[in-house]
Subunit: 330 residues, 2 copies
């Protein structure tokens, strides 16, 4: 569908560099514009990281890696491309000014995606020459490995641009998640922010250190979330009785004075029903017993993977294994 | 260190059953007391799940599985054991009454661990015959697979009991995390609750469905958290400039009106310093470049594991691989 596989990367920091690597290793010609003196060095380092890890995710050959060109101007970067990815600092006036320069020279049918985590696409479109080609395509670090991209259309974005963006992202092995409504921070970062804030409190109050908090995550629910996320994990935990039962049992805990973050939605019957119905639609095709086994198989596979790397839960497995071997020979 | 490997499981629901399986598959004799008619069935099912998954986590042989006995009374279950694990409903008066019956018959040097997620150990100790043997040992579902156990001592718990509990948990391949201070919900569940509450809001406001929320987690930050947790992930993301720089750059975002949960600790220089110092202590031994490679290796290993299971990020890899293979032969 996309004939001209050329992308302009505007802003080559951690996120822009990750995008550059993701595109380059998927056979796209990459043109980078970043005014900072350091960007070529960090971008080269990111590309090296990507080269050693991304190909190991698949047994198939990736398309031949394409050259990366560093441009002296936005104009030079954006002419004759089919995707422009903007990852400049999170200041709205900066982004608006960059869009004016991009859109003075870029093809009108190119996707103009923003890596913004904070702004809504309709805010980005304000005062733009061609607001219809602007949308949010928010990735996650490291962009060359993690599949998720939040795709958020603004009021002016055409469905052609949204579809084209999703198609290209899928072609590069990514997971475009169309976000239904524009909200600040989209979806994932709202969770990250809630957890980050809770973590700050714990450190401030001397409840736990960064290491203890990380361990509380990576030896426990982080392993669940890496393969099923939140609601499906609870669906399984609720057992045969299903999501509505789970919420009825655990939902009221939210009204306990557990945290310092206490704005709680009222758990009406409607809300409980809504969650249970959505959960049924999501995975009603599997029995809870099947889901349990899927979950367990995934946890085993992830932990076996970490075991080969001798890291986190995997390091623990190796220590335990050594213990077991020692005690069986003594 | 523990001669008498016999455990009493008081309450055999999802969590108690998971404990029973974890102990049994690690060579402990298990005595279960649960008055509900259904407990034998669910417990047998949990044990079956554990038998098919836990042994695959290690290349060594586990100790020979021991028999599981179902008891007709608490007395019968707790005599002559070295660990009693209480997983009865989360009502304080119920737990107090169960402890009175347990402690009338159990050895004084046994660990009496509670699976409570909501109560502090000092609350559990109120009115107990032997408060010094009571502590919180809070596990995560599925208990037979996930390593994390939050170990929380109450005001009366002896350090001998805490050390014994940690030793036994480690021997069973688990990760005891000693929690420094008693707070409601310990550590991990505070995060789970913050995220759960944010998820409820999103569903209520029609921002995202359960499936979209799960995808936002499991294709993105869930994969990061499963191997590094929160702070170490950000340490890597901050790059060579380190944690203090990362917080200076991203911390202020917390004061934006992003979520409906708005009680934010003030980001004083002291707090920033404290976090940065803790992070240095946690992983200052690795350079950021090393940490990046560790992170990438782990993400690859976990995703390869999920790929074999054709699930989540792994299903996506397979689809992409099939696409790539198809396009290279056409």
């Amino acid at each position: 569908m996309v004939e001209n596989k050329t992308v302009a990367i505007i802003g080559g920091g951690v996120i822009g560099g990750g995008w550059a690597a993701r595109f380059a290793l998927n056979g796209w010609k990459v043109k980078v514009y970043d005014p900072s003196a350091d960007s070529r060095r960090t971008l080269t380092a990111t590309l090296e990281n990507a080269r050693r890890s991304l190909p190991r995710l698949t047994d198939a050959s990736l398309p031949a890696e394409q050259a990366m060109a560093f441009c002296d101007s936005i104009e030079q970067a954006v002419v004759d491309v089919s995707w422009i990815q903007e990852s400049v600092p999170e200041r709205l006036e900066v982004k608006h000014s960059v869009y004016r320069e991009i859109q003075a020279h870029a093809p009108k049918d190119a996707v103009l995606g923003s890596s913004t985590s904070g702004f809504k696409p309709t805010e980005l479109q304000q005062g733009a020459i061609s607001p219809e080609q602007i949308l949010v395509t928010h990735p996650f670090n490291p962009v060359y490995l993690l599949p998720l991209v939040e795709v958020v259309a603004g009021q002016e974005t055409t469905s052609i641009i949204v579809d084209r963006a999703c198609h290209i992202l899928s072609e590069m092995g990514m997971k475009p998640l169309k976000v239904r409504k524009e909200i600040d921070a989209h979806i994932a970062d709202r969770f990250l922010e809630a957890v980050w804030r809770e973590g700050l409190w714990m450190i401030k109050d001397g409840i736990a250190t960064t290491e203890e908090i990380d361990d509380a995550i990576r030896y426990g629910f982080g392993l669940r979330w890496g393969q099923m996320g939140l609601f499906e994990t609870y669906r399984v935990a609720g057992g045969e009785a299903g999501m509505a039962h789970f919420i009825a049992q655990f939902g009221p805990c939210l009204q306990w004075p557990w945290t310092k973050l206490m704005d709680v939605p009222e758990l009406t019957d409607d809300l409980v029903r809504q969650i249970a119905d959505q959960s049924d639609e999501q995975s009603g095709k599997h029995s809870i017993r099947e889901l349990e086994r899927i979950r367990d198989d995934n946890l085993v596979a992830m932990m076996r993977g970490l075991k080969e790397n001798n890291w986190g839960a995997g390091e623990l497995l190796n220590l335990h294994e050594a213990q077991l071997k020692k005690s069986s020979t003594s």
